[in-house]
Amino acid sequence: MPHDAELSEFLAALTSYESEDAAVRSGLLRIAEVFDAEIAALVSDGAVLRAFGFARDDQREADVLRIATGESSSITLDSVGECAAIATKVGDEPEVRLVIARSSGAFSPREVTPLKSMGRILMLTLRLLANASAERELREMTELRTQEAERRLQDQLAQRELLESLLAVQRLISHRLPLQEILEAVADEASTRLGADAVVATVEGVNGAESIFVSAGTAAGKSLVGTPAGAKACGLEAAALPDAIDAPRPLAIGTAGSDIREALVLSAPILEGDRALGSLHALWTDDGPAETATATEAFRAFAGHAAMAITDASTVNELNHAFHDPLTGLPNRSLFLDRLEQASTRARRTGERVALLFIDLNGFKEVNDTLGHAEGDQVLRIIGGRISACTRGHESVGRLGGDEFAVLLEDATQESALEVANRVLVTLRGTTVALDGQASIGASIGIALTDNDCDTGDELLRRADIAMYNVKSTGESGAAVYRGHMGHSRMDHRATAAAFERALADGQFVVHYQPIVSLNSRVPVGVEALIRWRHPDRGLMEPAEFIPDVERSGMIVDVGRWVLLEVSKQCVRWRAASEHTRNLTVSVNLSGYQVLGSLATHLTDALDGSGLEPSALVLEVTESIFLGDFEAAGDCLNEARSLGVRLALDDFGTGYSSLSYIKRFPFEQLKIDRLFVRGLGGPANGVALVKTIVELGQRLGMTTIAEGIERPIELAQLRSMRCALGQGFLFSHPAEASAVTELLLLPPPAAAGVADVVAP
């Protein structure tokens, strides 16, 4: 996709040329640059007008013509190799096609619209320049009537104005104005340039967006078609139109009872590639445009710009998605922390205070467990919206993960922060979940403000977290501002190193396993090991509830070593048990603290102690381990790899998602977080995101594993994307080894089990 900036530059550059030849050559080369192409050529009526990228003595005309006619979609160049090629029609009489080819990969359908637009701009420029040179000749031929010269001059001026109109629209796209406003500008400019009584644009709602209707023109024109109903009554709808509409068509307008008049309508589809997104209509109640061919071409350029605006708006949406939590639409952890850091930096300078509210929901786990994840998601969405509603515009709300939210307040005081916290508590109290009326959601809110010895985002987060735990320990919903002594009291109610030592010795830690299956056959090929703590008082605890404490207590190294040995032994047992579990792998989550400890020794101990084949052990790490000591983490992973153990990148896409991690370390597997998987079966954006990750994995030669597959539609879509492996409730919940054994040892399902879901 070219950036709009490049389109604007392109337009500005072309209007600066004075000869057709210079404009063609610069236009083609600049188009090649924007699309990273080696070849750019203009083909007219079966002949190559101009081509770039070939050696002078071998212009490959026959090959270029084959691409222009669509007979071929690639071309092989000496010393370059095979190039993907594409052709698009940019002019009608004579038929002109633009051909480009590049070595760096195939063209996507989304590139067609901007390519066509650039081609049309090039054609308009050429026409303008042709007129200009004709004009020069005219001036020299004194015998010609002055009026004729006048008319030509007027044409030329009109063309220049048209280019300026298009440039104005380009600027609006560059400035990322709301789509509605850009389309209004398109309609407005088009009605002015074409002298139409009205111009309307109708765009269908795509990807969950609302449909848009805009109109511009004279009062008379707008009274006819200025509303969606009026336009519909006149037959000007968003319905798909044929690509080639060469002239205005007559149309009867007005309703029965009023005057029915003949008008002229010119329509053009708004296309993205071959897909019609909507249409643009111009209406004349008098004689129609002065010159039909010019008007039609100009009108199509406006429609092209409308398409660009729509394409661009959806691109911006996608960009936003990368930094927003797909579930609630709130800033995700990385964006929120970035904003927090910036606010703290600003506060250091201005002396104003920043407050951070750390909100942890109470009772959410019950909702999830009882009602399922889909219902849980719905609750999170509602709560995210309610928390946002409690804050004013300049305050920023983020979802830090799970059931944790945070609010950032600038220019805050302790009082104002408590006020917001109270608002949140009150509004949440009203959020009772329809679970036989019994489950209600509360929250523990910890508050921290910047001061002399707390002026960074990290410290704020740490303090707010401590304050939050202080509230949580009371067992009630509430809010508290951080106080110095809390740092200690917090450890009081939390498990200490001694407690974990005891738990380890008493065998309170257990490992649950969730099968990882081949998505095509549903046959288990591995298991992910998940630690649980069978707490004597609190029951079975999930890792999120105690691992942070284990890490802080320093016991993570010992607990991690135990897990490695335990799962290795279990895996050996399974591999020995049956022919089809012979190659079973076991995946273990690695904590950042383990990575910095003596991981290699522990791995060797586990492998030697169990006799497990190293390649059967997969270490899952998240991107967060690189945030500390990058080099040390890297060394440690490389060392693990050299032992023959395999590496998987976990939770890809939820954190920093820097490709540099993937490229620098020998990861063999890429795990797609459940957040993304849950976006499947919904709007196209969610699907595209997963597809991008799967393709990324494939390109880098990594196996992709989708997590949290719960619905058949998710499985079907993942299969169609050729995602190899997956795990989730659809196949099996995590369970103790004995419970999983049966599932693993079952003979592979025959064909009957495979075809239960049909890809759409």
Partner: protein, 351 residues
């Protein structure tokens, strides 16, 4: 022969001296902002390399009055490619006048002649940062406002590497207002304020232009284009209008990010460029390496860093001769049509 010479020298005498030894060998060259020759960076010196022997062919050309029409000049200088038409591997070496306008036009002109099959490489002549006039050299003549080119043909593979050595920091942003080289708004806020805040610039750089320039030297602006990141050195700030001034155009509406670099990252960039240049050699020992190194990188490296950079190059090239110069812009086109770079090191390896 390729000659890189200090602008302070009496160049006609230098060329005479060279010709006394070499005779009428085809020769191109230019003035510099520092000369590089195996193991050392010098000022006020001459660095000469001779390319030839079995398996090599070469031809040179020049185009004058380049600033009148850079495209045509680029195309004119590229004509010499025909004289090495039979060679299995070819490259066109261009030495241009970076003060004469948009050098991508030169690249376009040369590309229109040689096509996609011949890579372009080279740099813009320097004048020890005086920014007044650079000179080009061709077959014993001293030229101004010119482009000189050498077409080199070889039986063995030729490698080209390009790297800048800067890393993006923070989120991507939008350039919401810019005019040419002046960036006025980023994300709808005054560009200078966004720059200072996001990078948490030191107090001095917030009011003192000299301190700002020092800070900006290691914190350029990056702009994203399809498949490539381009680096824009920020040369100054307007504390009144809160805008940033860059040394090359920054398009409005484009995606941008701030970048940071230090000695080490610049040297890492150098190593990566050399490694990239050596890759197509498929294990053959390089006969020689030519480096076109941006003058702004020299500023970041300082005199000690420059020595480290040379050592980094030698560590990879295994004792092969290295020659090059500090330039006002670098040329490297191996893919697509874009080939003019800023803030980069371009390495050419022959085998």
């Amino acid at each position: 022969m390729v000659v890189f010479a200090s602008p302070r020298l009496e160049l006609r005498a230098v060329l005479e001296g060279i010709r006394d030894v070499s005779g009428a060998v085809p020769m191109i060259g230019c003035t510099t902002a520092g000369e590089i020759a195996t193991g050392a960076v010098r000022d006020h010196s001459v660095a000469i390399s001779a390319i030839g022997g079995a398996g090599f062919s070469a031809a040179t050309a020049r185009a004058s009055a380049a600033s009148d029409d850079l495209f045509t000049a680029g195309a004119g200088a590229a004509q010499c490619i025909d004289e090495v038409a039979g060679a299995q591997h070819r490259v066109l070496l261009l030495l241009t006048d970076g003060l004469a306008g948009d050098q991508q036009e030169v690249v376009r002109g040369a590309y229109s002649v040689v096509g996609a099959g011949v890579p372009l490489v080279g740099g813009c002549a320097g004048d020890d940062l005086a920014m007044k006039q650079t000179l080009q050299l061709h077959d014993g003549e001293v030229l101004e406002d010119s482009i000189v080119a050498a077409a080199i043909g070889s039986d063995a593979p030729i490698g080209i590497g390009v790297r800048h050595g800067w890393q993006p920091v923070g989120e991507e942003m939008l350039v919401t207002e810019s005019r040419g080289v002046s960036v006025r708004e980023i994300d709808h806020m005054p560009a200078l304020d966004v720059y200072l805040e996001r990078l948490d610039a030191p107090e001095g750089a917030r009011s003192d232009p000299a301190a700002f320039t020092r800070f900006a030297l290691t914190h350029p602006l990056g702009i994203q284009r399809r498949g490539v990141q381009e680096v824009r050195f920020i040369s100054g700030a307007d504390f009144e209008t809160r805008s940033l001034t860059c040394i090359a155009e920054v398009p409005e509406g484009g995606t941008a990010f701030f970048m940071t670099g230090d000695r080490q990252s610049v040297i890492d960039g150098t190593s990566a460029a050399c490694a990239e240049a050596l890759e197509p050699l498929e294990g053959r020992h390089p006969l020689g390496v030519m480096a076109f190194d941006c003058i702004a990188r020299r500023g970041v490296l300082g005199s000690a860093g420059v020595q480290d950079e040379m050592r980094a190059i030698e560590a990879l090239t295994g004792g092969a001769p290295v020659v090059g110069f500090y330039s006002y812009g670098e040329i490297a086109r191996t893919r697509g049509v874009r080939g003019f770079h800023n803030q980069t090191l371009v390495a050419l390896a022959l085998s």
